[in-house]
């Protein structure tokens, strides 16, 4: 499978870069940043939610990587380790805030609508639905929300989520189950489910 080959090639590159960094090559960390900054940003934004501090979180992740890379032994994939660091740094940011929750930084006015909606009505409906989902996400615990967003929005597998949050797959399944039920119930209660369905081939 091509994706498996790509992944293996990326792993080899990461391995070389980490080794180079450990040997004192400062250029290697820049390369790791170039290869992984998009992914880090994506994971971080799904953990912390819409935020003006995303820039800080991504920078903090690479500060942490710089400090802790010598402890990475290569037993797991570098990306797995990086996801773990990202989730931890993002959760620290969440815990530092006075107001908890997903929507602590921005107002609902800034929630993006659906760019692909054809009519104004559809756009408004889509925007309200997304706002409802954001509010529902805001109302559940950090643990459940992180698992939910990493799986449902970031598209990680159950195993990847488990590794990123440092727990077992069964715990992830359990948290995901509860998060899904709570969010679905909330969205349904508010009557925000879309009127149509999309069939997605993955």
């Amino acid at each position: 499978m091509r994706s498996t080959d790509d992944r293996a090639a990326q792993d080899r590159i990461d391995e070389r870069l980490v080794d180079a960094y450990k040997r004192g090559n400062s250029h290697a960390l820049s390369e790791l940043y170039r290869h992984h900054s998009r992914r880090v940003e994506s994971v971080a934004r799904n953990v912390i939610g819409p935020s003006d501090e995303l820039e800080d979180v991504v920078q903090d992740v690479f500060i942490e990587v710089q400090r802790a890379l010598h402890r990475f032994r290569g037993e797991a994939r570098f990306t797995t380790w990086l996801h773990r660091v990202t989730v931890n740094v993002a959760l620290q940011h969440l815990r530092k805030g006075k107001r908890k929750g997903w929507l602590r930084w921005v107002s609902l006015d800034r929630v993006p609508g659906n760019r692909h909606a054809v009519s104004q009505d559809k756009r408004i409906e889509a925007r309200e639905s997304v706002q409802g989902l954001y509010l529902a996400l805001d109302g559940i615990t950090d643990k459940k929300r992180v698992v939910f967003t990493l799986y449902e929005l970031e598209g990680m597998s159950l195993e990847e989520v488990a590794q990123a949050v440092g727990t077992s797959v069964n715990t992830v399944k359990s948290r995901l189950y509860h998060a899904r039920r709570e969010i679905f119930a909330e969205v349904k209660r508010k009557g925000l489910l879309p009127t149509h369905t999309l069939q997605v081939i993955k």
């Binding site: 400062s26 820049s30 003006d52 500060i63 899904r180 009127t195």
Partner: protein, 405 residues
């Protein structure tokens, strides 16, 4: 299977959630069993339809990420934080500091109060990254303007233009413009700027560490103060970004049609700020004094400033060529200085061995006037790409001979 669904028992919520999730671990057999059940059970079929709508909502939900401008600023911030290796704190180090701490306690007991001010450093203290201001600090930070000359205007909160005066503050989001004549201003600790007529620029970062400006249109001349480690100065224009390595340069942005960077003193790094993360290094060019870099009509031209013909300064060029291609003759520096069009785009990611296989990499490092830091950077890149033996093997090819000065 028996605990989840069968012909007589409705599937649980969790199973239905998994059923509508294409990535779930449900087997084909389990899915078929649920399909059969849904044909007979209207309540479950309705639930499944609702859950599909719910998944539709999830699929179109996206958390907003960084925009292009924020990526530019983040790239600069990461560049500035330094990427030096942070060695692990050794066991000896820990024992040493443990003993030192005990000694310090003893001294404290003895009343040596002045030793209280001596804090032992740790490995992580050597990282200058932590000193970089955070986003919140940057947002609230401001720089007081020194002297102002000419017709410089600044937009207030309501978007009205007012004359800029000395002593006012520049902060993130401040927009400056010059409509007639030219305007000059001094930003203490950073630079003296000159905006030509019909120029407009917006401040991206303005604090003690860094000054980043986006030139929307027009021309800006910069005379930059000597940079300290960790200090940054950059002008963004269109897709490109000029970062100070040296001291004096001009960026001209012709309303998205072209971007020109002329360097009159020192050196400036130019790259494509909106390139994908993995391609930034490919698009980087260092423009040295007496040279100009110009992007127009989709092409990049690079060479001596036309008005001031001077001997071209040595350039470092990283080229990737097909293995099958004949080894190129060693080109004189002057020819290399005029970069082939889209050379940067043809290059491959520097540290990607998978893409390097079957190709030959040539790094020209002219021996004269190349700053030590630049030489170190290129050597480090070379080591990263080839390992310790790589250079010798290329020298045997005879393709890596640096041109005579």
């Amino acid at each position: 299977m028996s605990d989840t669904t069968n012909d007589t028992m409705c599937p649980t919520d969790g199973v239905l959630h998994n059923y509508v999730d294409e990535r779930s671990e449900l087997s084909n057999q389990e899915r078929k069993a649920i399909d059969v059940h849904l044909d007979d059970c209207a309540a479950c079929a309705d639930s499944a339809v609702e859950l599909r709508r719910y998944r539709t909502l999830l699929l179109r939900t996206r958390v907003p990420g960084l925009d292009a401008e924020q990526w530019q600023v983040l790239d600069e911030r990461v560049q500035m934080m330094g990427t030096e290796y942070v060695p692990p704190e050794s066991r000896f180090g820990r024992v040493y500091w443990g003993v030192a701490a005990m000694a310090a306690v003893g001294l404290l007991a003895a009343g040596a109060w002045h030793l209280l001010n001596v804090a032992p450093s740790t490995a992580s203290d050597n990282v200058n990254v932590a000193k970089a201001p955070t986003q919140r600090q940057r947002t609230s930070a401001a720089l007081q303007i020194g002297a102002v000359e000419g017709q410089l205007q600044v937009a207030d909160v309501g978007g009205n233009w007012q004359a800029l005066r000395a002593g006012e503050e520049l902060r993130r989001g401040t927009t400056l413009r010059v409509t007639d004549g030219e305007g000059r201003l001094t930003i203490p600790g950073h630079a003296r700027l000159r905006l030509a007529a019909n120029s407009e620029a917006r401040v991206l970062v303005a604090d003690g560490h860094s000054f980043f400006l986006r030139l929307r249109t027009g021309e800006i001349g910069c005379q930059v103060d000597k940079r300290q480690p960790g200090q940054g100065f950059a002008i963004m224009a269109g897709r490109f970004r000029a970062t100070v390595v040296g001291t004096e340069f001009i960026v001209r942005h012709n309303n998205r049609a072209s971007v020109t960077v002329r360097v009159t003193e020192g050196a400036v790094r130019v790259d494509e700020a909106e390139a994908p993360r993995s391609r930034i290094s490919e698009t980087t060019t260092v423009v040295r004094a007496g040279n100009q870099w110009r992007f127009a009509g989709g092409n990049v031209d690079f060479g001596p400033i036309a008005e001031r013909p001077t001997a071209p300064a040595p350039q470092a060029v990283l080229k990737v060529e097909e293995q099958a291609a004949p080894a190129p003759a060693v080109a004189p520096v002057a020819k290399q200085a005029v970069a082939p069009r889209n050379t940067a785009r043809k290059a491959r990611p520097a540290a990607d061995p998978a893409q390097i296989e079957g190709r030959k990499i040539i790094i020209h490092i002219p021996p004269q006037r190349m700053p030590d830091a630049e030489v170190d950077r290129l050597k480090s890149l070379e080591r990263l790409l080839f390992g310790p033996g790589g250079r010798e093997s290329r020298e045997q090819d005879g393709t890596d001979t640096a041109p005579a000065p």
